[in-house]
Amino acid sequence: MTETTSLHHTLPALDFLQGLQPVAHHHPWPRFRLDQAAWRDMREALARGTLSLLGLWADREEIHAAVLDHQSALLILSVVVEAGGFPSLSTQVPQAMRLERTIHDLFGHHPQAIPDERPWLDHGRWGVAQPLAEGRRVPVAPVEYPFLPVEGESLHQIPVGPVHAGIIEPGHFRFTASGETVVRLEERLGYLHRGIEQRLEGCDLLQGARLCGRISGDSTVAYALAFARAAEAATQTVPSPRSQALRGIMAEMERLANHFGDIGAICNDAAFAMLQAHFSMLREQILQIAEHCFGHRLLMDRIIPGGVTCGLTPEGSRRLSNWLKTVPNTLSKLVEVYDETPSLRDRMRNTGVLSSELARRFAAGGFVGRASARTFDARRNLPYPPYDRLDFQVPLLDSGDVNARVWIRIEEIRQSIPMLRRLLTMVEEGPLTTPLLAGGGEVREGCAVVESFRGDILLWLRLDSQNRILRCHARDPSWFQWPLLEAVVYGNIVADFPLCNKSFNCSYAGHDL
């Protein structure tokens, strides 16, 4: 049985794949080139919910979609740009909208019949149009950005940002409120667009790993891992078990640090600073241990294609295992305070409710999806080392409120602690890196999906035969979470927005690229 027919076997709903052969040298999941009719069929399947959209990006010639079937099989489907355009998905698949607007901003490919023609990342300040295509020079002229109209009596608008009140990334929120109740929130992002995808073009793999590790600093391990895995897929390289275990340790430490930080910050926004003080201490402890273990608090530049740059120091290993003994007890005391404080309960429950239907349609990853009954975790659904050798649960709730998003984090911390203990025993002898083979003259493509603390990151890579980057695209989990934040705020009071926002904790830098 060939790869293609076995695929048809697992994906009976996808009639439009009949007779197609996968594109050569694309790993680990197959890529198919569709004609426009089949692309529209794919859109139907996405609209029906038979498939979920995990990513949508372009290069100079093609549009690529990553689609997931029954949360178990991933496919990359491409369509050639014809006459400067392609059939828009967002007419039926609204989660594609911002991605299509971005494709238009960066490449100029026109999503035909897209309901929202406004630019997204391009604020008119670059001095070039379509920087990833021919990059035509244009005068700098800030875009007039009309916010969606709101009609009704006694409405007022509250503009917030791009510079926010706290130590946070920049973005603009436009609230329309009736009294204290928010009737519409519209986000405008793109302030942190650094042109990363253009910077990646022509880089070697080590430069690529450094850049990808800075797409979103809080997920530097997850991004470096996604980049490394995509490069390893493209070059068909298998890193050593030792480096896989070390990567797992780094990834789980990053998850813990972020979850601790998030829970504390959410409580602080409900005027409960005492829990923030405690959780920020836990966060600080894991960062200090990370420095002892691997020499960097946030673990930047520790994962590279082919392996890792350093082993685990004995001192770090000892500190980590000692800390893992004490932290469950500390955590349970803090969780007790969280759960039994009436003022917190009052603010957290039934606030910012995300329906499971929206979470499913937008393929919301991470705690946002899992607090609203979407059971997807790349570590389990698209398993990769070292998670394919670990036992763990994926916590799931269905109330979809701020409280549920906090509880998913708490439960994930509780899963990561034994995982880390187990991973420490899996660090065996072996090389830290495995060399990546150059190609035999052909272009190779690789894709990776990695579960960051925030949700699944999708990274797609095209390499030339010398392992230089021709095209690299990274889709942050926030792409499918930001639009849902607009939905959950509806009907809440303005003062609850910070809670909703922190409980989502979407990335600005990861989204803006």
Binding site: L121, H123, R125, W126, G127, V128, P131, G135, V140, P142, P162, V163, A165, G166, I167, I168, E169, P170, G190, Y191, L192, H193, R194, G195, Q198, R199, R210, L211, R214, I215, S216, G217, D218, T220, G261, A277, H278, S280, M281, R283, E284, L287, R297, L298, M300, K333, L334, E336, V337, E340, T341, S507, Y508, A509, D512
Partner: protein
């Protein structure tokens, strides 16, 4: 909750001893003050942080200054919500063109006398995020910088060491 309070009696404070003010930073601030003389009355510094194009790594470490280990408020430094309340802008990132106007306006909204500290390799030199169609480059291309605290990201201890040097230089310059 009771056991948490009880624990507080059993453990000593976690707060770390302050680092020495960074001598290089001290010299850098003094050079800046020679060019643009300004006087700070008192010790306290109100800080407004501006992310002008960072990956968020610097923000995480700046945040850590508020945790009980570094406890920046013990030095009279605290973070404020508005540039109008600030003495000092702590700017991160290689300034993106999309953030340039916001940074200029934030600087303009900060009352004089004011100081600008560029935090992180991107803000200091651009480094990985050198000038391209989307980025204008390091912070001093857009607003005058008095002190650079490099690092990717700088640790909270490095941040404190730089800020303490700034505070010391301002006070010895009275």
């Amino acid at each position: 909750m009771r056991t948490l309070f009880f624990d507080a009696f059993l453990h000593s404070p976690v707060t770390l001893a302050p680092p020495e003010p960074d001598p290089a930073a001290l010299a850098e601030v003094e050079r800046a003050l020679a060019v643009r003389p300004r006087h700070l009355s008192g010790q306290s510094l109100a800080i407004r942080q501006v992310d002008a194009g960072s990956c968020n790594g610097c923000e995480l470490e700046i945040h850590a200054l508020n945790n009980p280990y570094y406890n920046i408020e013990r030095f009279g430094m605290h973070f404020v919500a508005s540039p109008r309340h600030a003495d000092l802008l702590l700017v991160t990132g290689s300034v993106t063109h999309n953030m340039r106007t916001a940074l200029e306006r934030t600087f303009a909204a900060t009352p004089a006398p004011k100081w600008v500290v560029a935090v992180g390799d991107c803000a200091c030199q651009g480094c990985l995020f050198r000038e391209n169609y989307a980025c204008a480059g390091p912070v001093d291309r857009v607003v005058p910088v008095d002190l650079t605290i490099p690092g990717c990201p700088p640790s909270p201890t490095q941040l404190l060491s730089g800020l303490l040097a700034l505070q010391q230089a301002l006070n010895s310059n009275v």
